[in-house]
């Protein structure tokens, strides 16, 4: 099968969906003329013209809020918020407007919008250009949250997001944009709320998201040499969350580790931990382990940054320690 990058896969999804449905349109900062800082929107302006592909001023609150207004009146906006950190600038529009407009108006409106945002601690980034803040948005009902980890998933999930009649937050890890993977030429979509077992194993269930999926898979190889066979599960969407797949795996392994790049306190791992102990407590042989970024603002210096973000080595070490406990 052909291999393309994560960014190209996203770009294909946008081209295909905008071709399929003329109500779909996209805007964001620097997305039209230069095709986005992350090169995800390349070629859209040429193909679909300036009405459907728009550069916006630096106005995140308007960008996110306008998507709600557009969505409730019959179009299907896609918004690029350059850095996930900037979602804080339009928090009200995402958390109160997008997520709740349908409910508080008794189902009068559908809110089919997608907010794409890049995230993650990568070279040169620090506190306000590096966060994985998806957990913040998990706290409100009304919004779906997607965390693709491969080019294949990026394309299929983005197509599903665009067709969904609800607000969707779509987080693209910046370290993944240039990673390559197999993506078929044929049309496909990937359903929300369905986890994938990336690697089978009997000893420990490892739930990982976004960039942490590949790090966990690398850790799996190292651990195998030590005789530890982990099962790696990628939920792909954290809202809706395929908790059943996680429960089933924990029933088999008796151990759960969650690996995420967001902060530890109030994180995705905390929520999965709570759910699993509610659901399958009796099957757990050891305490649930969370491997996450440390609870500090992400520092600029690489030496410091590497202490904060979970590495493959760290995942291996922590899992070995857990087994020895």
């Amino acid at each position: 099968m052909r291999k393309i990058t994560f960014a190209q896969a996203l770009n294909e999804a946008l081209h295909e969906e905008m071709m399929r449905d003329e109500k779909v349109f996209i805007y964001g900062q620097d997305v039209a003329v230069v095709g986005g800082l992350w090169k995800v929107t390349t070629g859209l302006l040429d193909k679909f013209g300036p009405d459907r592909v728009k550069d916006t001023p630096l106005s995140e609150a308007a960008m996110a809020g306008m998507a709600v207004g557009a969505a409730i009146t019959g179009t299907r906006p896609i918004v690029e918020i350059m850095f996930a950190d900037f979602l804080a600038v339009c928090f009200d529009e995402v958390y109160n407007k997008a997520a709740k407009w349908r409910y508080v108006h008794g189902g009068m409106f559908e809110v089919p919008l997608v907010i794409r945002s890049s995230m993650g601690a990568t070279f040169g980034g620090s506190a306000e250009h590096a966060q994985c803040n998806e957990a913040l948005f998990m706290h409100t009902p009304g919004i779906k949250i997607v965390l693709p980890s491969t080019p294949y998933d990026a394309k299929g999930l983005l197509k599903t997001a665009i067709r969904d009649n609800n607000p969707v937050l779509f987080f693209e890890h910046r370290a993944l944009y240039n990673t390559k993977g197999e993506v078929p030429e044929e049309e496909y979509t990937i359903p929300f709320g369905k986890a994938e077992i990336k690697k089978q194993g009997e000893d420990i269930t490892v739930v990982a998201t976004s960039r942490m999926v590949s790090r966990s898979l690398s850790a799996a190889e190292d651990l195998k040499k030590e005789g530890i066979n982990i099962e790696v599960i990628d939920p792909k969407t954290i809202v809706p969350l395929d908790i059943e797949a996680i429960n089933q795996s924990v029933k088999k392994t008796g151990h759960l580790v969650i690996v995420e790049e967001g902060n530890r306190t109030g994180g995705v791992g905390a929520e999965i931990t709570a759910l699993v102990q509610e659901n399958v407590f009796d099957f757990l042989k050891k305490p649930i382990l969370r491997i996450s970024s440390l609870d500090v603002p992400i520092p600029f210096n690489d030496n410091l940054k590497n202490m904060v973000i979970p590495s493959t080595t760290k995942i291996v070490e922590e899992i070995k320690t857990l087994i020895k406990k």
Binding site: A62, G65, V111, G142
Partner: protein, 317 residues
């Protein structure tokens, strides 16, 4: 402008309905029959009704917490309005959004965080433009809400992209307790339009014809593809920010000066003078409206509450 007698009578009836609705809501509140707070729009009805009447049926509107009466003008059934006031299942929002969030396909609802209106109305206007619809969005907002950043972001984009949205400020001089002089760096909200290259108009918000005409002009402007318009209607909140507010921050003299300019009485006197309406006609209309309101109240009070089956409904489509 010259208007037919029928047109003026219709305008008067809408204004009267708005006043009677607003007064009834206050009365119900003080009888303990409203399960929530009431932000009365008494005194500002000419702004809300006049603006709304300038719209066609296929135009869109967004209200504020103080513009409940405009929903009736826009054609939402009075039964539903009272159901929403009481949080009943048969309302427009199924007991989930209160009277402030009365909605319809064309009434896009209200943002509980003040300032959401600007971005949502602007986005709706963008949508209409993309869909080649010949409609506009009329967004009501309060003077103090123009101090939110969303106002400035939205006006800039609406102007830049020439979107068919009309921002209509009901400048009632106050945001809860703060006077506009203490909250706002410019004398007029309309002064802010120039910063965004948006045409503006200041009107007497207690003159229903003045608000109507300004809004009509703005609608034509927007429908001709010329982009947004900012209207400031100078008016006054007769009552407190919400029922129960003791209004310690202003004087009774100031209030009575404004009450002299009551928008309903002014329009009524004018039409009586012109012979467009008569006292007996007014009494007949009042009785009709009174009956309509009483029927709606009893419909709403006797209708059911939303239940368990509604609780998780409509979180997602």
């Amino acid at each position: 402008m010259n208007y037919s007698g029928g047109f003026l009578q219709n305008m008067y009836v809408n204004l009267l309905k708005a006043r009677m609705l607003e007064e009834k809501i206050v009365e119900l509140y003080h009888q303990g029959r409203v399960p929530g707070s009431v932000h009365s729009g008494v005194g500002e009805e000419a702004t809300f009704v006049g603006g709304c009447l300038a719209l066609n049926e296929d135009d869109y509107m967004m209200t504020t917490h103080r513009a409940v009466c405009a929903n009736w003008t826009k054609g939402i059934e009075i039964n539903k309005i009272f159901c929403d006031l009481f949080g009943k299942k048969e309302g427009t929002n199924c007991g989930k959004g209160a009277a402030i969030r009365i909605c319809s396909e064309k009434v896009l609802g209200m943002s509980g965080t003040q300032g959401g209106v600007f971005v949502i109305a602007t986005g709706a206007a963008l949508s209409l433009k993309l869909l080649n619809k010949k409609s506009v969005v009329l967004a009501f907002f309060g003077d103090n809400t123009s101090n939110r950043g969303t106002f400035h972001e939205s006006l800039n984009i609406a102007s830049l992209w020439k979107l068919p949205v009309i921002f209509l400020c009901d400048n009632n001089q106050y945001g809860i307790s703060i006077n506009i002089k203490d909250s706002t760096s410019v004398e007029n909200i309309a002064d802010r339009g120039v910063a965004y290259n948006i045409p503006t108009k200041i009107v007497d918000g207690n003159s229903i014809l003045a608000v109507y005409e300004a809004t009509k002009e703005a609608v034509n402007h927007a429908k001709s593809g010329n982009g947004p318009y900012l209207i400031e209607a100078k008016t006054y909140r007769f009552r407190g920010h919400m029922e129960g507010d003791q209004r310690s921050y202003r004087t009774r003299e100031e209030e009575s000066q404004w009450m002299e300019k009551c928008p309903l009485r002014r329009f009524e006197n004018k039409l009586l003078e012109q012979g467009v309406i008569t006292d007996t006609w007014i009494v007949t209309e009042k009785n009709k409206i009174e009956k309509e309101i009483e029927n709606a109240i009893s419909f709403a009070e006797n209708s059911i509450d939303p239940g368990k089956e509604d609780l998780f409904k409509d979180i997602y489509a």
